[in-house]
């Protein structure tokens, strides 16, 4: 057979021999050696001065391709590939293009050399074969520089009336690749009519490719492509209802299932379509009903795959249309799914579970009961031998849980967890923890569940999980006694899991007092129970345990000597955290009893408004790739996805996870450290009288944001003090005037303005009163004026901070404020047109700073108007040509007084884009300098949040 093949070969004999050699190698090492030898040989040929014949060049490049496909690194030969692509002969071009799409990577320097040859093949060769080769390889390489250089040509080929179907379908996919990389390169409004023309093509191959392109486009701007729906429904009607398709496109008697799937996928971007009352709605309904009713299980596996592929897509469609769709269709879909999750065929069962999980994820009351009725069937799949099926089943169980069935599902999951393999355990633990927390009011059951989790699979229980237990127990005082008792019993066992010890240490430290009167559970007993685990637990738990002991020593007279002895052992310990804790706790006794009492008081309740960290952890699993996924949980998240749709971009949709105690606490509770032991712990002696700080930080931040964009105003104000500000800039220089007025009824004593001006500014400060130099007296109704002349001399991102301190008769005041200075302050507007903006935007792609911020009210035209005005105030020129209704882009130059080597002032070009969506705003700053990017971002963020 092998000889026969060698005879038949179209490839060069040298390559055949090489392949045979590799096949004959006895081991992987042999093969590697042979490959290395061949690579050296080829490298020698390529670098030698004698020129290679066309045949040799092709042969060696094919060898490189073959070696690459075996998984070896090939990092040379690019020049030869370039020369093959540029050849006039088809055979050389063909090899060149295939090699290029495999060996060259985006960003290779050779890419620029190749562009002209490709352009030539695209437009001026008038040779379909050459054009096809060029299109295929552009799509496959996906180099951004190729795309930028050639996208106009590709568009032209696609819409050219002379293009053959073979060329057209390749051009469509090529353009899709482009849209993914440069989303703004196609103006939707102008391009939509071309798509409409393409959708009337009779060639199903062209239609399939066009639909891929259309889905790519619509995923970014659905509204712009609404007009395509009638065409899409029309094609669907021909395929699904009339079963019209050329015989070639019948796949196992189904008319092009791929095209049908794509048509149905597209429709899912328009969930409200069924309500629109358009003339195509009844047709669409008919199509969906036909697909749902006509699909029967076929004996041919391929026929069954094709039909079910279409069927599942139709079900997806119905799921996405949701309550706005047709109730009969929904019932039918649900019935089918119920059937599928019980069948033997693993593929269908897998997809059935998957689709039902999506349906359950919509939390639609109408379907809830029917889905819940399937619980036993789903649990059965949880025990399937195939992990893929098990994962789907777990996911579905998770989605179908609510208050009524949470306890039974969680108990079921825990039973299964004992036997579950490592591949799925971690996911299960996280899901059980989330479910048990989310759906039960029964704290005892919740704590017992987590303890079971720890004992069955403690290694998979992340810190987040047990931290939540602490939060919930702390916030439910009525259960603290029960939990303390339970933890005491759990920790009494010698084999208790270290994570349980961590929980036990915290709980007994905080709530041990509640059970201390019980027989056998005295403070002493509690300490012993914990201390027996000391050698086996990690550093963090040791810290918690030490803190618990310190709290016990404070509560129970009789354990004090034992605790002191224990702590003394660690005063010189190698672990710095333990050393510091032990020393500090030991020195506590030297402070007054009131202070000790204060420091060792139990933790205040946690802020429950915030989202559970566990749900955030789960959400990270639901991230997205290129095309917007229409099945994001709950449907309502679709909108915000628009904000973060760039390649691989995923932003956690909500704020940072809750950490530690709530911030409003005045006296630092030094035991509030169970989440982070790295924080510095200092025993602070409380001041003689309370220090009054900024009463409402959010309001202060808003004023700061307003001041960034306006030349004068009030930076901060409360009942005692008002800080007014006036600032103006010219290029790199600015003059900032600050007025601090005493608004209270008493004079300010020890009034100081601590103004540590940073190194990025060259400054000159004038201060009549001298408050920046030392404490002064400020009478009622009087102002202290400070004038700062500043010149920017370096990139910066954080505004200069300053502090205002003073004493009144009753209180001490200290306000930490920021001067509203940003790189934007020293900026000059730059007017650019659309092409100029986009060009620079792409050039600076690698120096970007980006953040999604949540704003207090929805983005509407008046919001955008204010924002645009603010941008003008920040001396950025708006580039309206690239903006839509909810975006705002601008361009400016950050001027500095620093000089470059030639003596010219250095300035940094800055671009910014703000894209609003719902109550989210994505702000992206791109400048030549990363620090400036960060600074510009911060400035605009402050402004956006202040609008």
């Amino acid at each position: 057979r092998e000889i026969h093949h060698a005879k038949m070969a179209t490839q060069a004999r040298g390559l055949q021999n090489f392949i045979s050699d590799l096949r004959n190698s006895k081991s992987k090492e042999d093969e590697s050696k042979r490959v290395a030898k061949e690579l050296a040989n080829i490298r020698g040929k390529f670098t030698s001065s004698s020129s290679l014949s066309s045949y040799q060049k092709k042969k060696y490049v094919w060898k490189l391709v073959y070696i690459f496909m075996l998984g070896y690194d090939v990092d040379f030969g690019h020049a030869e590939v370039v020369s093959l692509v540029g050849s006039a002969k088809y055979s050389e071009k063909q090899v060149g293009y295939v090699a290029m799409s495999l060996l060259l990577k985006a960003g290779d320097s050779m890419m620029n050399l190749i562009v002209n040859s490709i352009r030539n093949d695209l437009v001026s060769s008038h040779n379909d074969a050459h054009t096809s080769l060029a299109l295929t390889s552009i799509a496959n390489v996906s180099g951004i520089e190729l795309m930028r250089a050639l996208h106009v040509e590709v568009q032209r080929v696609l819409v050219s009336p002379n293009a053959t179907p073979a060329v057209r379908k390749k051009a469509a996919l090529c353009l899709l690749r482009l849209v993914r990389q440069l989303p703004d390169s196609i103006a939707s409004a102008e391009f939509a009519p071309h798509i409409a023309t393409l959708l009337q093509d009779r060639h199903l191959g062209v239609l399939t490719s066009t639909m891929s392109l259309l889905i790519g486009l619509a995923s970014k701007h659905p509204a712009e492509y609404m007009g395509m729906i009638p065409y899409v429904v029309h094609i669907l009607q021909a395929l699904a209802l009339k079963k019209q398709a050329p015989p070639d496109y019948m796949y196992y008697r189904t008319p092009s299932p791929w095209l049908q799937i794509k048509l149905l996928k597209f429709l899912q971007y328009f969930p409200e379509v069924m309500m629109s009352g358009e003339t195509y709605v009844p047709t669409l309904k008919q199509c969906l009903a036909r697909i749902l009713n006509d699909t029967d299980v076929s004996d041919s596996i391929n026929k069954s795959n094709a039909d079910h592929g279409v069927l599942f897509e139709a079900i997806s469609c119905i799921i996405v249309f949701g309550p706005s769709g047709d109730a009969d269709l929904q019932t039918a879909a649900l019935r089918l799914l119920g059937k599928f999750i019980g069948v033997k065929e693993p593929n269908i069962r897998y997809l059935g579970l998957n689709a039902m999980a999506r349906l359950a994820g919509l939390h639609n009351e109408a379907n809830k009961e029917e889905i819940k009725a399937q619980q036993n069937v789903v649990v059965h799949s949880l025990k399937d031998a195939d992990i893929s099926v098990r994962r789907r089943a777990l996911n579905l169980l998770f989605e179908m849980t609510d208050h009524t069935n949470a306890e039974s599902i969680v108990d079921e999951l825990i039973t299964y967890l004992v036997a579950a393999d490592a591949g799925i355990r971690e996911q299960m633990v996280l899901k059980i923890a989330v479910l048990s927390e989310k759906f039960t009011k029964n704290v005892r059951w919740y704590v017992d569940t987590i303890l079971k989790l720890i004992s069955i699979s403690g290694d998979h229980v992340s810190n987040d999980v047990w931290h939540r237990v602490i939060v919930i127990v702390t916030n439910n005082p009525q259960e603290q006694e029960y939990v303390a008792e339970t933890m005491f019993e759990v920790c009494s066992s010698k084999n208790c899991h270290p994570k349980a010890v961590a929980v036990g240490s915290y709980v007994l430290g905080e709530f041990g007092l509640l059970i201390a009167e019980r027989p056998g559970m005295s403070g002493e007993a509690q300490m012993q129970v914990l201390e027996q685990h000391w050698p086996l637990v990690d550093g963090q738990t040791k810290g918690i345990m030490m803190t618990a002991f310190a709290k016990m020593a404070n509560l129970y007279e009789e354990v004090r000597p034992a605790v002191t002895a224990f702590l003394t052992k660690f005063t010189g310990h190698v672990d710095v955290d333990l050393q510091q804790r032990s020393n500090e706790y030991l020195s506590l006794s030297s402070l007054g009893p009131d202070v000790v009492e204060d420091i060792l008081r139990e933790m205040p309740p946690f802020d429950t408004q915030k989202v559970s960290t566990l749900e955030l952890a789960l959400e990270e699993e639901h991230s997205d790739t290129h095309d917007k996924n229409v099945y994001k949980k709950g449907g309502q998240q679709q909108e915000e996805e628009n904000g973060g749709e760039d390649e691989g971009g995923r932003e956690p949709p909500r704020g940072p996870p809750p950490r530690g105690p709530p911030p409003q606490e005045e006296v630092p509770n030094l035991l509030g450290d169970f989440e982070s032991t790295e924080e510095e712990i200092t025993v602070g002696v409380p001041a003689a009288q309370p220090v009054v700080g900024i009463p409402d930080q959010a309001a202060a931040d808003r004023s700061f944001g307003k001041m960034v964009a306006s030349p004068q105003g009030v930076l901060f104000q409360d009942a005692h003090v008002q800080v007014g500000l006036k600032h103006e800039y010219r290029g790199s220089q600015g003059r900032i005037q600050m007025f601090v007025g005493n608004m209270s009824q008493t004079p300010f004593k020890n009034f100081t303005i601590v103004l540590p001006l940073p190194g990025y500014l060259r400054t000159d400060v004038k201060d009549e009163l001298g408050a920046t130099k030392g404490p002064v007296h400020l009478e009622v109704g009087k102002q202290a004026r400070v004038m700062i002349m500043a010149e920017a001399i370096a990139p910066f991102s954080d505004p200069p901070a300053f502090t205002i301190n003073f004493d009144t008769d009753a209180s001490t005041h200290s306000y930490d404020l920021k001067l509203p200075l940003a790189p934007t302050s020293f900026s000059e507007p730059v007017q650019v047109d659309k092409a100029g903006f986009m060009g620079r935007w792409q050039q600076l792609a690698d120096k970007e700073a980006k953040e999604i911020v949540t704003i207090s009210r929805p983005v509407d035209p008046s919001f955008m108007e204010t924002l645009r005005a603010a941008m003008a105030g920040m001396k950025f020129a708006q580039c309206a040509a690239v903006d839509g209704p909810a975006t705002c882009s601008g361009c400016g130059t950050y001027k500095t007084g620093a000089k470059d080597a030639a003596g010219n002032p250095i300035s940094v070009g800055c671009l910014v884009r703000m894209e609003g969506n719902g109550d989210k705003f994505r702000i992206t700053a791109r400048t030549l300098h990363p620090t400036v990017s960060a600074g510009v971002l911060k400035a605009f963020k402050a402004v956006v949040q202040s609008v």
Partner: protein
Amino acid sequence: MIKSILIINNHGAPRLLRIYSPLPPTVTPTDLVRTVFLACASRPDSFCNYLQIPGLESSLGWGPINLVYRHYATLYFVFCVDQTESTLGILDLIQVLVESLDRTFSNVCELDLIFHSDKVMYVLDEIVSGGMVLETNIGSVLEGVREQGKLSKGSLRMGEGGDEYRR
């Protein structure tokens, strides 16, 4: 989108490797082949044709990936796709690829893929382009490949004389 297509034999040797979404620098093609092969080969044919490898997903940075694979005699055909692809549709696409290869080589076997990797590549490029389905009609696919073959031979004759190729 189809992120990558792999054909791997029963012993884990790659027979075709096509990557449409660039790999991160930390993952070599060999790593990809090995991970995918180990995951597929450990599954009996009675299991479903879908697979997720959470560890691979995080190291590739491609987001959630479904592996859709089919096992034919000595070869695994594996498509790594994102969540926007219909998994059953991909399963059919694998069948189209295999049938196209079968007709190109009249009863394809592993040796064909080894000694005619160029042709396999041409066939694949007619079916998938840049990670998207280009053509599903086997007739058109073969037509495209044939056209290319003719052109290639034609340009050989015009050029330096075909005798350098042992046909």
